[in-house]
């Protein structure tokens, strides 16, 4: 009897938590396609608000995609080689470098943004272009890329593969291109997905770093929350969900297959954690 009661209680808590998480999302999606949210769904469904958002904010969506793709490219170029170096030479120096590379995660975005503005704000062309926002995004997403790739590269199997290739006469760059990178692609793809997701949703740094000409999607969202009617804010949020949810689903699917199939994984897969 007590067992059944315990089960029911736990189920109730779990369902309540799930409702807490999902009800506001469903409501905001519905509000985005409702003619008048104050009246309710009976006022009719419409795509008018979505059209309005597109007219007002299409540029922010385009810029967010541009920055997110550039951010993936930059973190690949910076993070993959760095992760390889850290994996090849484990030791105190590597630990210190890893600590520095992941430190931006432990510091609130506001502090990072202030530091960037104080140091680089005087370079006008740089400060006013989207490259400035991109630097913030790279700073904040790079640790995720390094971690994801390092997790795969630190596995012992990789070491053996490389030893084998070396004993067969493969040089440094050949091993890197034909052994290391192909075998690390699981971590690289996972890292890229994470960086893409985080960059599309990044707000804290971006709000401080953006200019009127470099508004990203989340900056536009904050703008619409403050100044637009609820239906427009909701329709805009709906567009954001449409962009971000497929990325999240792909990431969850990847971490599942990696967990079941992954021969080379010692660290659990990292998950994207926005600084909020």
């Amino acid at each position: 009897m007590r067992n059944r009661l315990g089960f029911a209680l736990q189920l109730a808590v779990t369902l309540l938590v799930a409702a807490f998480l999902v009800v506001p999302v469903a409501m905001s999606m519905l509000a985005g396609v409702t003619a008048n949210f104050f009246v309710g769904v009976s006022s009719g469904l419409t795509l008018r608000w979505v059209g309005e958002v597109w007219r007002l904010y299409a540029a922010t969506i385009g810029l967010s995609m541009t920055i997110a793709l550039a951010c993936v490219a930059a973190t690949l170029a910076l993070g993959v080689p760095a992760a390889y170096v850290l994996a090849r030479r484990p030791g105190r120096v590597s630990r210190a470098i890893e600590e520095v590379l992941t430190l931006p995660l432990a510091i609130p975005g506001l502090a990072l943004a202030l530091a960037l503005i104080i140091t680089w704000g005087g370079f006008r062309d740089f400060r006013t272009g989207w490259g400035f926002v991109l630097v913030g995004h790279v700073l904040y997403t790079l640790p995720f890329m390094v971690r994801a790739v390092l997790a795969v590269l630190s596995a012992t199997a990789m070491r053996d593969l490389e030893e084998g290739a070396a004993s067969l006469g493969a040089g440094f760059w050949t091993r890197l291109a034909t052994v290391v990178i192909p075998n690390a692609r699981g971590g690289i793809v996972a890292g890229a997905l994470m960086v893409l997701t985080l960059s599309v949703g990044e707000f804290n740094l971006t709000w401080m770093l953006h200019t009127p000409h470099t508004k990203t999607l989340p900056v536009g969202l904050a703008d619409s929350y403050a100044s637009m009617r609820l239906e427009i804010a909701s329709a805009y949020t709906l567009l954001f969900f449409i962009m971000i949810v497929p990325l999240l689903v792909a990431m969850q699917a990847m971490s599942r297959t990696r967990r079941t199939a992954g021969p080379v994984e010692e660290l659990p897969p990292c998950r994207p954690l926005p600084s909020n």
Partner: protein, 273 residues
């Protein structure tokens, strides 16, 4: 595969190193210098103690972060343990629902709180229908609490589920067969097994709640939490020294929380992120 590779490895590390130097280490040093370069000098760093407004903001933020962490740990442990212990139809969908908000930015979470507890919110509608008057809580500290709970729960649930899968069921069976009650097994076997994961997840939860800015910004009320205070100092008062000092103090607090948890429970990113 020998030390001959060293020069090439150094070469590979140069881009990331240069980036970290130019856009992280030097800016952070400049920020520290700017914070100490105001009219108050080094005393700016002590403003969380000396200046009443900053002190209140710090205390409110600490209380909020501790409260959110405690509530999240309780709710997420119940839900996470339940989900990892029971198989039932719809479990997969439930897990997906519970973890999907994982990467929602804080500003969107703020809007979702408005959906729940704002002027047209669903909870206000419910309380009104029940004859208790319209409950509006979104634009206060309570709204912030709900928002932080929203983005913290999915993170901790995942950690609990991952930790619970690694527990050895034989230990629980042994305890049960020796006559321990269910509550006793939970207290003496299950929770100690989950403790490292919960410590790491709790620290991440606390650090995120301390530094969160987007949610408070979206709720746009006069909620004085530290990130909002920093933002006000910087944009409205143009007090770069105060903003810089406060943000570095905040950074030190969050870093210390994560560091302490890691010394207690192993690497936080590996355990929970």
């Amino acid at each position: 595969m020998s030390n001959r590779d060293l020069p090439r490895l150094v070469l590979l590390a140069v881009p990331a190193g240069a980036f970290a130097l130019a856009f992280f280490l030097v800016p952070l040093a400049r920020l520290a210098a700017a914070a100490a370069g105001g009219p108050k000098g080094l005393a700016a760093y002590a403003s969380v103690v000396t200046e009443p407004r900053h002190f209140e903001s710090m205390m409110a933020t600490l209380a909020l972060a501790v409260g959110v962490t405690a509530a999240t740990l309780v709710l997420a442990t119940v839900a996470g343990l339940f989900l990892s212990r029971h198989a039932f139809p719809g479990r997969g969908a439930l897990v997906a629902v519970l973890t999907l908000p994982l990467a929602f930015p804080g500003v969107v979470v703020g809007f979702l709180v408005i959906m729940l507890g704002g002027r047209q919110g669903v909870i206000g509608g419910l309380t009104e229908a029940l004859g208790a008057g319209r409950l509006v809580f979104a634009y206060s500290l309570a709204g912030l609490f709900v928002g932080y709970l929203y983005f913290s729960i999915p993170r901790v649930i995942l950690t609990v589920m991952a930790s619970a899968e690694k527990l050895d069921p034989a230990l629980e069976e042994a305890a049960r067969s020796l006559g321990a009650s269910r509550a006793r097994v939970l207290k003496d076997v299950v929770l100690p097994g989950l403790a490292p994961g919960l410590t790491a997840a709790g620290a991440i939860c606390f650090a995120t709640a301390m530094g969160a800015f987007g949610t408070a910004f979206a709720l746009a009320a006069n909620i004085e939490v530290l990130p909002m205070t920093i933002y006000t100092e910087f944009t409205l008062n143009a007090n770069i020294a105060a903003a810089g000092a406060l943000s570095l103090v905040l950074g030190a607090v969050t870093w210390a929380a994560l560091y302490a948890a890691r010394s207690l429970a192993g690497p936080p990113v590996a355990a929970a992120a």
